[in-house]
Symmetry: C4
Subunit: 234 residues, 4 copies
């Protein structure tokens, strides 16, 4: 009997990928989730271009943090190298998600940070969700997906943000990426980003001069959920 | 055999909470409903951070009107003190709802009252749905959820409105709260607020100079449903 | 054995009412459909304020063209007199629908005619969908729902339109009404109005100077579906 | 036993038509798909005005590339001649779709090309999705649907585009048409067009000065999916 040492992350990645269509975050195959096992130094990721209805846990491809396929007959997601770069450099994350969700993508195309207009946003991060600029022509012509990972890291660095303070980003001209302690949390963050992006779009339509969330509320709402004295959840 | 004296409001609160995802008013756990029994001086409320699919009537936490937990092993909603304040001061309400529904929240973020543009709005209240200003830094830094209840009451008082004339409000920078004679009516009001907020957004997009609902129609539509000679319903 | 002479229109009205939530045209009970039998001089209409899930054919109330209840224990829709007036004056219609569908209502609140911007609109009527002005205070204070019927008829008359050329209207400050040869066609028209209203909203957002549908296309598309040489359908 | 030589394209056309309501691309019967067999010189197309729930493979009408019905008792889609013209002139296509999807139609009514604002668009075509101008009065008054096919071909020719570079178009005042190597791909293109149209609408709302997709990204994303060294999919 052959033991599959990756079954747990294949199941985690499968379940997380299947949440994307349920949450209305993907059309066809325009999205992918990965789940990592840091002790094994690998992650499981959706195969490229396979419809969600045809997925199963055993089809999740196992890839190491340099982007090399370790197990699996299918080609991994075309965005695999971006996932690999983030896992390699951010040692506390266990899941990464990329979608082309409609409102998040529209803000990425508009090349604007999603402004923190209210507590729905403030419950999840204290800062505006950054929009990284489109990559330079050199980065694009080179190892594109690999460079996308660096573009994300560079943007956070320039804003003075850690990947733990802000688990979401937009890549200009392109679409959102999110991450978290595991695949489930990363998917959760993708849904939050999409909702917050829709609310910000409508807020500006209703009042083009809408003010940002007050500093006192930014502090309060973030601490309710994430501070040392948090009292949200069980 | 142990008798549970709170079963009726746990079941009422459970059923009302389960309506929120069905009506499209919540993402994940971003909302909560409570149901009160005034003779017992308590209300049943959703536990904090528990997904709707994992809820059951016995998980509803029983809390008194000062916000103290009377029965239940789970932590009640982080918004519990806001509910408690409203029950304590408004003696005719039996249900309270808080959501982050998308259009209602966008108006709260825009910090504008939802204008009464038509009979859909006018069937439910004669006035614009007020947007309370964001709280002062002192209120936020203090007992935040408790003060949110007072912010709501103060806003109605400043507008000269009773909680029976207008069963809905926005809290600026934050999101909507609604109430009613029972939990079911409070949920109904949350859905009405969301629909009316969407219609108002579109009305201003289609005609930035759209007029308000005529006074004669405000009077007529409200009396059709709520006046002494009402003729809506059975 | 008691024969119910109205069973056929009760079943027609029931089935047509049940289409409203399926088509996304109503929230709660904010809409009603009636179906007439002209040989009997009566119509069957939804009872007032009864949720769609609790409806059944036998609950449809039978009313004559003067608005008097002929059969049924429930109170008919509060909009019954508007339906009665239209049946009484327009001898070829067999169904009437009133909804508060979101986009149609937003145009009614904006008090603008829905402009004929394309063939989706032009397949159903050659003209802009009229928005009748809000009624005078005298009409509102009088027999309101009865006068709503006359407001609709007067608006068509002022535009020089027959009820056969245009089976849809908006009542300013209020919401849409549609009609047709039977209840099914009237519901179809309500769904068309909502879709056309949404398309017109977006068209103006994408191009504030968007031109109207060309006269030659107005003529062509209407004749494809409705002219003596129509070739749409079986 | 009678052999039906067209069963395979009837089944293909049926399955593809049934995807339109599932993907939210049609209201009622406002859309149609055809599937061709080039060796037989015919295509199967939806019958005109038949609701999707009443369709079955054997109801698909078989038509030749001159628009003449070869098999079937029902009248084919009123847009059949447009399909025929495209099959006749574009020898590598196997499927054609016409819908009145909401965002695509709004851009057609606005008479604007859908601008390539991001990689979601760029994954499918390097160019803006063209909007052909409304036809001349002479073309409309003549053989309208036949001329619609030429209007589409002329528009691509004027832009210097082949039907393989861009498998989607808008017809001004009217709605989208798409095509592809088979019916399934043509439906896929219709869904992509609708999503891209919605994203472009929102992008311009969020930032009226949003820049186009960078040339380097246009090249990169198209080659990822379609170039000789493509690495998307299996």
């Amino acid at each position: 009997m052959i033991v599959n040492p990756y079954q747990h992350i294949q199941e985690e990645a499968y379940a997380a990928n299947m949440q994307l269509p349920e949450l209305g975050l993907v059309l066809f195959t325009f999205g992918n989730v990965s789940a990592a096992d840091r002790s094994l130094g690998v992650f499981a990721i959706k195969p490229s271009g396979v419809p969600y209805k045809d997925l199963s846990p055993d089809k999740m491809v196992i890839v190491d943090f340099d982007g090399k396929t370790v197990q699996g007959n299918l080609r991994p997601s075309s965005d695999t190298l971006t996932h690999a770069v983030l896992y390699k450099h951010w040692e506390k994350i266990g899941g990464v998600v990329h979608t082309h969700s409609v409102y998040g993508t529209a803000w990425a195309q508009a090349q604007r940070d999603i402004i923190n207009y209210g507590t729905t946003h403030g419950d999840h991060t204290t800062v505006d969700i950054p929009c990284a600029p489109p990559m330079s022509d050199e980065m694009i012509a080179g190892d594109y997906e690999y460079q996308t990972g660096f573009q994300i890291m560079n943007c956070l660095a320039e804003r003075g943000l850690s990947y733990e303070e802000c688990e979401m980003i937009l890549v200009g001209n392109h679409a959102p990426f999110t991450w978290g302690k595991n695949a489930d949390k990363a998917v959760y963050n993708s849904a939050v980003l999409e909702t917050v992006a829709k609310m910000a779009t409508l807020t500006e339509q209703i009042n083009p001069n809408a003010p940002r969330l007050k500093d006192a509320l930014i502090k309060k709402h973030y601490e309710r959920k994430h501070g040392p004295h948090s009292y949200y959840g069980q």
